[in-house]
């Protein structure tokens, strides 16, 4: 019954592919939810736009979109050639499933549809020429993450400095190693509380992890404060530190093969 599509139509449209490859694709990821990933993603996009860069922000979190809550829930327009025209807020082009689904309506789709939807948000949006495309991923390794993470040029891991979060960061780092995606570093969110009266800093989590032993630098650290919570973004995001990290992302090497493993390979090659 299904229409048989020629192979050349099944692969990504060459024009779209070239445009996507020319822009720097930055994935904002986390091992668990509620760490402020969408806030950080939007803050990075806004900070880059304020520096004059052409920036896009795609909300890949199909089941729990947050970007429209931060940048505004404007309607998505459809272009003449069946693509989405992204909305624009404060110089950032953005698109999210939250602009299609009604407020309060859950997205209850099959994983294959979730993967397809995430891919379509990226590929079927008329981004134009962008310098940076920031991708706000869902937490952990959802279907959308597995679909699009391999397309990223680099990732930034957002975490809170709690004991529970550390193992999640380690998993995300391992995923980056597996997919061979460079890691910019870690952003520690809700890291401390700054007293509004006396300005003293109080660490909320007793442990404060460094991720240096994983080979990953800490790019920035942000407090838990009402200003960020109310504005839903960090207006003074340290974009210079971020741009510096972009020049030197960390590509973690895959574990080297053991001698035994190399020997086995040799044996089987000779046998053939």
């Amino acid at each position: 019954m299904a229409h048989e599509t020629p192979l050349y139509k099944k692969i990504l449209n060459p024009n779209t592919f070239i445009k996507l490859m020319l822009m720097k694709r930055i994935g904002i990821v986390s091992g668990k939810g509620g760490v402020g990933k969408s806030t950080i993603a939007a803050s990075i996009a806004l900070a880059l736009a304020s520096k004059g860069f052409q920036v896009g922000l795609v909300d890949v979190d199909v089941t729990c979109p947050n970007v429209p809550d931060i940048l505004g829930k404007s309607e998505l327009e459809i272009t003449m050639d069946d693509r989405f025209a992204p909305s624009i807020a404060r110089g950032v082009k953005y698109v999210s499933i939250g602009q299609i689904a009604r407020e309060g309506n859950p997205i209850l789709w099959d994983p294959k549809d979730l993967r397809s939807a995430a891919k379509q948000l990226l590929e079927r949006t008329e981004w134009g020429s962008l310098d940076y495309l920031v991708c706000d991923f869902p937490p952990g390794f959802e279907a959308e993450t597995l679909e699009l993470l391999p397309l990223m040029d680099c990732i930034l891991i957002v975490t809170t400095p709690s004991a529970l979060s550390r193992s999640k960061v380690e998993r995300m780092v391992e995923a980056a190693r597996e997919f061979q995606i460079p890691v910019l570093g870690v952003v520690k969110n809700m890291s401390y509380f700054e007293c509004p009266s006396c300005g003293s800093r109080h660490r909320i989590f007793a442990e404060d992890h460094s991720f240096e032993e994983l080979g990953i630098p800490t790019i920035a650290e942000f407090p838990l404060n009402s200003k960020i919570a109310n504005e839903k973004c960090i207006n003074d995001f340290p974009v210079e530190a971020f741009l510096e990290a972009l020049k030197h992302p960390v590509l973690l090497k895959k574990r080297p093969k053991s001698l035994r493993r190399k020997l086995l390979e040799l044996i089987f090659k000779v046998k053939r």
Binding site: H3, L76, I100, A101, A117
Partner: protein, 130 residues
């Protein structure tokens, strides 16, 4: 006769009466074939096609661009206004799939949701609320 076939027969017989209101849908579907698969409470399936401005029974040899899937319950809910098309799509009650990929087509979903909302505005303007 299966439940869903009875339902569809009755609706098709009165589609002419709603032709002016359906013009927007028809213009969107101009030149395209879409299949609508309605599954009844008794498990029976009816396959309809939207082509040339009319909804007809499909033969099964069509080559559609999109396939719409829903149960007869959802079909009635949407027709009666008890359920919004956009809501039905996000909850997985009404699926709009690309025939080539077999997965959801977001652009088509947004297009049909908008058309439905515009039409609903027209219908509620002229039809007394229940």
């Amino acid at each position: 006769m299966p439940y869903v076939k009875t339902l569809i027969d009755r609706l098709l017989s009165i589609q002419e009466r709603f032709y002016p209101e359906a013009k927007e849908y028809l213009n969107m579907g101009e030149g395209k074939v879409s299949l609508l698969r309605v599954v009844g409470i008794d498990g029976e399936t009816v396959l309809l096609k939207c082509q040339g401005g009319r909804i007809q029974y499909a033969q099964g040899n069509e080559t559609p661009l999109h396939i719409f899937r829903c149960t007869s319950d959802t079909f009635l809910d949407i027709l009666s206004g008890d359920e919004d098309l956009r809501e039905a799509i996000t909850k997985g009650h009404f699926l709009i799939e690309s025939a080539s990929t077999g997965t959801i087509d977001l652009v088509e979903m947004e297009r049909w949701s908008k058309a439905f909302e515009r039409l609903r505005g027209l219908v509620t303007k002229y039809v007394a609320p229940k």
